[in-house]
């Protein structure tokens, strides 16, 4: 039996080796740690030596100060940082993480960039349940954090950042069109703005808005709801709903009126939302708060105009704007880690004080929004291009819907949905067909996974 296992293992590691060989930089991870934190061997060392291996997609140079600060404050803890992506690309980072896990890499702490990634890996049984560690510490999740990432009562990760969604606007274009920065608005008004902001023709068209290819851009009138704000929530399908209908109509109206970047251009040219917005080819984008930092310009996309912020539009006049689903990065401990206590201390720190140090918007209830905004301005390359008034308004008038951890097969649901929406927006099928076909496919996936 063991022989068989060895052959299988050898085969697997070869497969993985081959795949890793295909990746560009497979050898920049640190070498495996010698002896994983066994300071209890001989004698009595004053402090237990623990080596924690932490994986995140943030480039090493940006992560280094945070790690240094933690090591300084915690004697005996050494952090070995495993960089999952050298350019901060979280999608590539997750692929690399999967390869590392498959090759049996000793990791203790892993970060995940969203609830779908988190739920998928928790569903595979890779993550350690944290309930006991939380009980030992006496930490109440809901009093400490704004997000509750528990899946059927078990917590597999702590919320590391808080993401909510809002609208970025090119204020220079607003001013030129004589429009105010909106504070209360609905999707109809959003389309109105988009129409007024569209100008030019041919290759130099400036579109009023750009919708990216992510599934959430097909659910815009659904993710601004407090409840039932995903395709499948609480054992219930939400496909055949007024919210999904409105989301699809919103997209097709914008497409037909020519006030949003055509979908055909978006997919055939693989457009990216950052370049569309910062190169002034689109005046508004719906996005999340990882873009706050970048609105002051980044090396790749320097700011050349003032960026203003507006809350997430509501579905109808009279409903409050600024409601959006909350998402975020999640910090988890691997089930096979042998340093769970030390790892827990680290993610507790990273998701609270560490967030302040990095100046990310965390899910920690005690963080100070104003200090965060000041921090953004301090770090920004061109702070004057961030419209502080509207940013403050959006950050203080935001209502996060309770986190609905999606099922572990969420990526399949999204795939089924976006396939139908593509046919819809490209004019191959009407709204009702889209809804009924999505409903059938999503139901089949849900049934297959029960």
């Amino acid at each position: 039996m063991s022989k068989k296992k060895v052959t299988v293992l050898a085969g697997m590691s070869l497969l993985v080796g081959l795949m890793a060989g295909c990746g560009s930089n497979s050898d920049n991870g640190p070498t495996p740690s010698p002896g994983n934190g066994n300071g209890n061997g001989n004698g009595e060392p004053p402090v237990a030596e623990v080596v924690l291996r932490v994986a995140h997609w943030t480039p090493t140079n940006l992560m280094a100060p945070v790690i240094e600060a933690y090591e300084e404050a915690n004697d005996g803890v050494t952090i070995e940082y495993v960089e999952l992506s050298d350019n901060g690309d979280s999608v590539a980072g997750m692929q690399r993480l999967d390869l590392l896990m498959a090759s049996g890499e000793n990791l203790d702490v892993v970060f995940m960039p969203g609830a779908t990634d988190y739920s998928q890996r928790a569903g595979l049984g890779l993550l350690a349940p944290l309930n006991e560690l939380m009980a030992t510490e006496g930490m109440d999740l809901n009093e400490t954090y704004l997000l509750d990432p528990s899946i059927d009562g078990t917590v597999f990760a702590l919320p590391d950042t808080l993401e909510n969604y809002f609208v970025l606007l090119n204020k220079d274009m607003l001013d030129a069109a004589g429009l105010e920065v909106p504070t209360e608005w609905s999707w109809d008004e959003y389309l109105d703005y988009a129409e007024k902001l569209t100008s030019g023709s041919g290759a130099s068209t400036v579109y009023g808005t750009y919708f990216h290819t992510w599934p959430m851009y097909w659910q815009l009138a659904q993710i601004n709801q407090m409840n039932a704000n995903n395709l499948f929530t609480d054992g219930q399908l939400n496909v055949d709903s007024p919210e999904i209908r409105q989301s699809l109509e919103l997209r097709s109206k914008a497409e037909e009126a020519g006030i949003a970047t055509p979908y055909a251009d978006t997919i055939s040219q693989k457009l990216a939302y950052r370049s569309e917005f910062f190169s002034e080819r689109a005046a508004m984008i719906v996005t999340g708060n990882w873009m706050i930092d970048e609105s002051g310009g980044s090396e790749q996309f320097p700011a050349t105009f003032t960026t203003a912020f507006a809350p997430m539009p509501s579905n109808d006049k009279g409903q409050p704007a600024g409601v959006s689903i909350a998402n975020g990065n999640f910090a988890a401990i691997l089930d096979r880690s042998s340093n769970k206590e030390a790892a827990y201390d680290f993610i507790r720190w990273h998701s609270t004080e560490g967030g302040e140090l990095k100046n990310v918007y965390s899910a920690w209830r005690q963080q100070d929004a104003n200090q965060f905004i000041r921090g953004v301005k301090e770090h920004a390359l061109s702070p004057d291009f961030i419209d502080e008034d509207s940013l403050t308004y959006v950050m203080t008038h935001f209502q996060a819907a309770p986190l609905n951890v999606p099922p572990s097969y969420q990526s399949q649901l999204e795939q089924a949905y976006t396939t139908q929406t593509e046919l819809f927006i490209l004019g191959q099928q009407d709204l009702e067909t889209t809804i009924s076909k999505t409903e059938a496919e999503v139901r089949a996936i849900v049934d297959a996974n029960q």
Binding site: K5, G11, D98, I267, S268, Q412, Q420, L426
Partner: protein, 313 residues
């Protein structure tokens, strides 16, 4: 030489069989020693992964979890494949895409004949047609992506100037995406087929043509009765390798369309990648690989047995 010498020397001894078997043994051992490194490579890099993925195709498993989480589920994966619309669509797309191989070969043959006999500086043309093959697929794809830009690209700008109001949206069009990809494939693979056809043409003896000319055969008859039949081994080789390569095409689709829009350019290998590395269902993806293997095996076998009817050596 040495072994022959041995054989002669010992042939007078009574236990003749034994000596031969010892000799055989030595030769076998020697032979094994020579093929050993290669055999080891084949076993480790081909055979074991093959067996491994065959085993996995009967399981429900994700490659990022440990082996203790492997669950065997019999033929469930294969049963699901039959009801998986995306997979079935990918299989159909794969077969449609096969058309690119004969079309590309026909173009290559015509070009080869022209370049071989009727063009000055034929070397330069060979290099030109080979260029896409040695360029990076990603770079090539990006250039075509811009050419085929649905609203402001040069191709559609030209079509619109001709008076076509709604030109196809090419890569972003569920009907035209697959033909666009096939066009690109033909263009990329043209160089290889061209070079091999030129080599095949050089191999045809010139006196055959001379005799045909004396008999008064026209150029077309010469082409039909001499060039085509004598090129059949080349055609056969290109057809087999072309079909296999075409079936396994992944890079181009990944960078150009990512299988979209709405799976209209999804192929088995792309669907498998998506299932294995995005949805993390290694077991299910393995069953797709097995189906791909069977299809490829069947096509190759069909061609192999069919060759005696049309390939003339």
């Amino acid at each position: 030489m040495d072994s022959v010498h041995h054989q002669v020397e010992r042939s007078t001894r009574p236990p003749r069989r034994r000596s031969i078997s010892r000799l055989r043994l030595r030769e076998t051992a020697m032979g094994l020693l020579f093929v050993g490194p290669m055999l080891l490579g084949v076993i480790v890099f081909l055979l074991m992964p093959l067996i491994f993925s065959f085993t996995l195709s009967f399981s429900n498993w994700s490659f990022i979890t440990g082996f203790d989480r492997i669950e065997f589920n019999g033929l469930d994966n294969y049963r699901n494949l039959l009801q998986d619309d995306v997979f079935l669509k990918s299989v159909v797309n794969n077969f449609v895409m096969l058309l690119a191989v004969p079309i590309g070969m026909a173009i290559a043959l015509v070009l080869a004949i022209i370049i071989n006999s009727r063009v000055y500086a034929s070397g330069a043309f060979k290099v030109i047609y080979f260029m896409p093959q040695i360029s990076s697929v990603v770079a090539v794809a990006v250039v075509w992506q811009v050419l085929f830009h649905p609203s402001v690209g040069p191709v559609n700008a030209f079509l619109m100037n001709l008076g076509i109001e709604h030109p196809p949206r090419w890569l972003a069009d569920t009907t035209f995406a697959l033909p666009s990809v096939m066009m690109l494939m033909i263009w990329i693979d043209l160089g290889v087929a061209l070079i091999i056809y030129i080599a095949g043409l050089k191999y045809i003896p010139a006196d055959l043509y001379e005799a045909a000319r004396i008999d008064g055969a026209s150029t077309f008859v010469q082409f039909r009765s001499i060039t085509l039949p004598l090129l059949t081994p080349t055609t056969f080789f290109l057809l087999i390798t072309g079909f296999i390569g075409n079936f396994k095409s992944f890079a181009l689709i990944k960078v150009l369309t990512e299988g979209g829009p709405a799976h209209s350019t999804s192929v088995i290998v792309y669907d498998m990648y998506q299932t294995a590395f995005v949805e993390l269902q290694t077991g299910y993806a393995s069953s797709m690989v097995m189906v791909l293997f069977l299809i490829l095996f069947a096509i190759t076998a069909l061609q192999w047995f069919g060759q005696k009817y049309w390939v003339k050596y």
